[in-house]
């Protein structure tokens, strides 16, 4: 019922806009000055037409679905970061590198196990084997790094943790670059063999009546929902999750209650690194991202945006911000592809969201001032 209503409204708007747009153009007889400055070849007419086309239900649905898929990815990328920041107040610059390593590791497992004859379901099965292995490996890596490098820095100012993880990024990225080029791969371009391991129904579009739905998008949405559900259940339904939440609220008090907060730190850091790795495995199948060394920086920045927009260290905020950023990204990608020929449009909007949110609500959408030691 509501869907029908939305559709009618949308069509109304469409007709209205298409009626208006020539009027606007002829009436004013000018090109929009704002559009002129940045995007010289965009006229008001074209913008109006594009808006009309954008508001067609099929396109809207496409963008919405794309947005959900992107949201799922953004949430996946950012969840680990927010867990770590919420508990320890460490802004982990190495997070993107964990994702990148996860992408390569997951790709490696699939490329080694999948052959041309492997069936679709078997490939999905192997994918989840890869997810488990990557989660394990990166959790161990994260735990080791936390104990050996970050632990000595807790009593210093938070800047040093940023610096240390920044240095870590340089080392990890360069190590991966060496290893990858040792095997004759181009570190800066996406790993094509990893794309090749996708099952057929993920690589193509599924046909649902008037709309085509990319199988990959559905898979990503499902994966994102399951991960968010799992983390949410862990935080709210388990005893350890309770301890983690208590630790983020007040680490000293938690310690006073006899809980070894340092160990909780290690566990959460390992968990965050593991989730980052799993996000990497998911990205490896996505042609927009793909497994490459620059993936580290490409995922780190949106992860920061999502975490900051949501409010540093709040899980709920991260999920909402992930959806917000994903939707905006999808909308802007559509506009870039259809109306405005400015390559940086989606990216620039993402960072503009960050700036605007910080101006309007410095603590983020769901953030509480003062949480996380800042």
């Amino acid at each position: 019922m509501t869907f029908l209503l939305t559709v009618t409204i949308a069509t109304e708007v469409v007709s209205l806009v298409s009626e208006l747009s020539p009027l606007l153009a002829s009436g004013f007889g000018l090109r929009s000055p704002a559009a002129l400055a940045f995007f010289p070849d965009v006229t008001l007419v074209a913008l109006g037409d594009a808006l009309a086309s954008f508001l067609q239900p099929v396109n809207l649905f496409d963008v919405f679905l794309n947005g959900l898929a992107k949201s799922a990815l953004y949430v996946m990328i950012a969840v680990g970061l927010t867990l770590i920041f919420g508990l320890m107040g460490v802004l982990n610059f190495a997070h993107g590198s964990f994702t990148m390593i996860g992408a390569y590791l997951g790709g490696l497992i699939l490329v080694l196990t999948v052959t041309g004859t492997t069936g679709g379901l078997a490939r999905i099965g192997l994918f989840f084997v890869g997810v488990l292995v990557v989660f394990g490996v990166l959790a161990v890596l994260g735990g080791v790094l936390e104990i050996s490098l970050i632990r000595p820095l807790y009593d210093r100012s938070p800047v040093y943790q940023i610096l240390l993880t920044f240095g870590l990024t340089l080392v990890l990225d360069e190590l991966v670059r060496i290893i990858v080029s040792l095997y004759g791969l181009q570190p800066i371009s996406d790993w094509q063999n990893a794309f090749g391991t996708r099952p057929a129904f993920i690589a193509r579009s599924l046909d649902f009546g008037p709309v085509d739905v990319p199988g990959l998008a559905l898979f990503q949405i499902a994966f994102g929902v399951v991960t968010v559900g799992a983390v949410w259940a862990f935080l709210t339904r388990t005893r350890y999750g309770l301890i983690v939440r208590a630790g983020s609220e007040d680490a000293e008090m938690t310690e006073a209650l006899g809980i070894d907060v340092r160990r909780v730190f290690t566990v959460v850091f390992a968990l965050g690194a593991g989730i980052a790795g799993v996000a990497g495995v998911l990205l490896m199948w996505d042609p927009v991202w793909g497994a490459s060394v620059p993936l580290a920086a490409e995922t780190l920045l949106p992860a920061f945006v999502v975490v900051i927009v949501g409010g540093l260290g709040t899980f709920r905020g991260t999920v909402v911000a992930g959806i917000l950023v994903g939707m905006v990204d999808a909308v802007m990608t559509w506009w870039f592809q259809n109306a405005i020929s400015f390559t940086g449009l989606p990216q620039i909007t993402i960072f503009l969201i960050l700036v605007i949110v910080l101006i309007a609500r410095p603590q983020g959408l769901f953030g509480v001032e003062g949480v996380g030691g800042h």
Partner: protein, 505 residues
């Protein structure tokens, strides 16, 4: 907000006292010297700062006292007549002069050493002149980063915006794409214009960003930086392929010197620069660039140093140590932060302009990307956060290691050295899994300097958190320019002591 007028005479009295007297300083604070009061206070409070550092700063000198020393020195000419201010000035600047002298002689030393019997070893170890030019301009950028981040404590992750503005303004003017400014506009003038444009940007960005603190400030500046970066990367006004940046082909070399006077300036750049022969010394284009870029950097360094030692700089440090307290005393900290940000943006743009002038090309990725700021951060931490000269040494260290461990620098480095000196047998030896020594060297030394820099950086953060200069300062118990002459005084032979003491306060 005016700065306490009492600071002048009080600094004078401070100078009368022996160096270790910082406790009595505290007493003096109560009656009006505000900025420094916070620093001394923070000495006990903030554990992160090296205590020697803060103590040193509350005594009124960082590297050494430039103009305040001279100023107060004249006013407080001692009754015994031992202190003559020019002499004192010389003494305060002994270390500065030493470093400058060394840098001035470096091209000569390099040429001499590289032609000595130890040729190949030294070629591998010493940074080339070309590398030194890069150290200069990027060191200036790192210093400007330190100026805002190290002295006010606000980590600016979008600092590359200003560097990029400097580079792009220079290149856009040179390609004739800026209205009203012809391509042949004197370089020095363009540099200043670029700096002023950066000031405008800094005020705009800062006005919004300085409402936030801590991680949020770092993130909003990162956001602004990336907005500008992405915009520039897609800005097709600069050329058909904006991702590739701009390159200047037509314009003659960028000249540094007095504008409009041909005989008083020298062009920089490796291919387009001027050559010069003074007396019997022939200077190549790279060497001329070295001196001219170095000259600008040194001037900028002294300008920033002067600002840090001014009452304005005191307030900056006060903001770093305890902003609420500085505000409570009555300083409008927002304005001071904004001012410091604008100044630092100005010098960052100068650095970017020098970079563009020397290289004649810049891309969004090596001028605007957030990792450019990351490099400045690296240099600042390695050299010493909150020491103005530190980032320059940090960058020297950084570039030196890079050049030594990867073949980024065309000439020297470990890789060519090993190739030349290891015998065929050694090179052919198999290590693990069929990889020969040669293969291992190629794999691990060829262009992978980031690995070693990153590892060194992690070690620095863990074990040398004060950086090179900061640690030396902590050892000496004060700024190098102040303590080294004092230390040296102990070793002066007795019959010369009169002259040395004459230089003492």
């Amino acid at each position: 907000m005016a700065i306490s007028p009492g600071s002048g005479p009080e600094t004078t009295t401070n100078d009368d006292r022996p160096e270790t007297d910082s406790e009595t300083d505290d007493g003096a604070e109560t009656d009006g010297r505000t900025g420094a009061g916070d620093e001394t206070e923070a000495e006990g409070g903030a554990g992160a700062e090296p205590s020697a550092d803060t103590r040193a700063e509350s005594e009124g000198g960082l590297e050494s006292e430039t103009a305040p020393a001279a100023e107060t020195g004249t006013r407080s000419a001692r009754a015994d007549g031992t202190l003559v201010w020019p002499a004192r000035y010389v003494r305060e600047h002994l270390v500065h002069s030493g470093v400058l002298l060394f840098l001035a002689l470096y091209p000569g030393i390099y040429t001499l050493l590289v032609n000595s019997p130890l040729r190949s070893e030294l070629l591998a170890v010493l940074p080339e002149i070309e590398t030194m030019v890069a150290v200069f301009y990027f060191g200036l950028f790192a210093m400007s980063f330190d100026f805002i981040s190290g002295y006010t404590g606000y980590l600016d992750f979008g600092h590359a915006v200003f560097y990029g503005i400097g580079a792009y303004v220079v290149l856009l003017v040179a390609t004739g794409k800026v209205p009203l400014l012809p391509a042949e506009t004197p370089f020095v003038l363009v540099l200043v214009l670029a700096g002023l444009l950066a000031v405008v940007f800094a005020v705009l960005i800062g006005a919004v960003s300085f409402r936030l603190t801590g991680v949020y400030f770092a993130m909003i500046t990162l956001g602004f930086g990336q907005v500008v970066y992405v915009f520039v990367r897609g800005w097709d006004y600069v050329g058909s392929n904006p991702r590739d940046g701009i390159a200047v082909s037509e314009r003659s070399g960028f000249e540094i010197g007095v504008p409009f006077v041909d005989s008083l300036d020298l062009a920089i750049g490796q291919l387009t620069g001027d050559e010069l022969s003074v007396l019997a010394i022939e200077l190549s284009t790279t060497e001329v660039s070295y001196y001219m870029v170095g000259l600008v950097v040194v001037i900028c360094y002294f300008a920033m140093q002067r600002i840090i030692h001014s009452p304005f700089g005191r307030v900056m440090i006060a903001i770093r140590e305890n902003e609420q307290r500085a505000a409570a005393i009555g300083y409008n900290t927002f304005r001071y932060k904004l001012g410091a940000f604008a100044i630092s943006g100005f010098f960052a743009a100068i650095a970017g302009g020098l970079f563009a002038g020397f290289r004649r090309t810049a891309t969004p990725d090596n001028a605007f990307f957030f990792l450019v700021t990351g490099d400045a951060l690296l240099a600042a931490i390695i050299g010493g956060f909150g020491t103005l000269a530190g980032p320059l040494y940090g960058r020297l260290f950084d570039e030196g290691v890079r050049e030594f461990l990867s073949k980024a620098g065309e000439g020297g480095g470990l890789l060519p050295y090993l190739r030349e000196h290891l015998s065929e047998a050694v090179l052919g030896t198999e290590l693990l899994g069929g990889m020969t020594v040669q293969g291992a060297i190629e794999t691990f030394l060829n262009g992978h300097a980031s690995l070693y820099i990153g590892a060194l950086f992690v070690l620095f953060v863990l074990f040398v958190p004060d950086g090179l200069l900061g640690t030396i300062r902590a050892r000496l118990g004060g700024p190098v320019g102040k303590c080294l002459p004092d230390r040296a005084g102990e070793y002066v032979p007795e019959r010369f002591e009169r002259y040395w003491k004459g230089l003492e306060r």
